[in-house]
Symmetry: C2
Subunit: 178 residues, 2 copies
């Protein structure tokens, strides 16, 4: 089930002097091939779908508060490392490299549960938040702004201090609401 | 801010006899153009990013339990209709058409809050679940299966009855865990 791979260069880093630092080759799991719709949707085998760009989306939530922290993306290596190490790894689309969440920021995400949705197109991680923040802007969740609703501009205002969660009202589009 | 559009054909349907049924043209909001990184990440304007395929991902959670129900996708029309009507609309990638959630299944999702993440690449809806289920397989959440952890095959088993939430263990990949 485990195979050593050296196809990916995502784990390569350069030292400050510019020399290539060769890190240990990563492990990549061999995920089962996709089956029939019934096997995928109701079966008991983990058959994650990596789309054309090799990525699967991943919703990450706080295991304690239930708060949704972020939407990330994983390639096979990132998902393998998450499963094997118990720490969240993603594929950074902006930096185009493997991203061990918290490696630089200290905002690591020890994983408590790994779930998959019905068509196995999306992973859900429940993580323990080790620092006060998960979002690089400084909030606990990346979802720190919400649309205003109707005419009450103050309805969704909330206090905001440091890394504490505050939800700010967004302007530009008014939400009629339900 | 509102413009009537007839560019989209997503709202067109065919009757059983094959005749084109012309439904009222939908409304589409004019979302602001994307700004600088600082405006996008820390500003107060709603500037959702629709990717190359015209879609933005949307995480939907139960406003009461906090449970993550599904990951969907929205085009401009679906997001506009969600904002304007207060009911969740998505773009169905499998059927390639606008999807008013619950229109057929009765599993509609009245929206209580609409949030956006830091880079405005993902929408978060908090919805009130009107029926016992959100997932077409019959579960409350689409994330009804989770990976087993280590050697304890029974650790994550849960009871399962009807539309009630049960989380089933997945086999095939063993999770080392944290």
């Amino acid at each position: 089930m485990l195979k050593r791979t050296n196809k990916s260069t995502a784990h390569r880093k350069f030292s400050p002097s510019g020399a290539l630092v060769r890190e240990p080759a990563s492990f990549e799991l061999s995920f089962p091939n996709r089956g029939t719709n019934k096997q995928i949707e109701e079966g008991m085998l983990f058959m994650p779908k990596f789309s054309g760009n090799g990525l699967i989306p991943c919703v990450t939530r706080d295991v304690h508060s239930g708060e949704v922290l972020m939407l990330g993306y994983m390639n096979r290596e990132a998902l393998s490392l998450t499963i094997q190490t118990g720490y969240a790894h993603y594929w950074s689309r902006s930096r185009n490299q493997l991203w061990h969440k918290g490696e630089r920021s200290g905002q690591s995400q020890p994983v408590r549960e790994i779930l998959i949705d019905d068509d196995q197109y999306c992973v859900l991680l429940k993580v323990h938040l080790t620092s006060g923040a998960s979002c690089h802007v400084g909030y606990r969740s990346c979802f720190f702004r919400r649309l205003e609703r109707g005419d009450d501009r103050t309805a969704f205002r909330a206090s905001l201090s440091g890394a504490q969660q505050g939800v700010r009202p967004l302007q530009g589009i008014r939400w009629a609401g339900a």
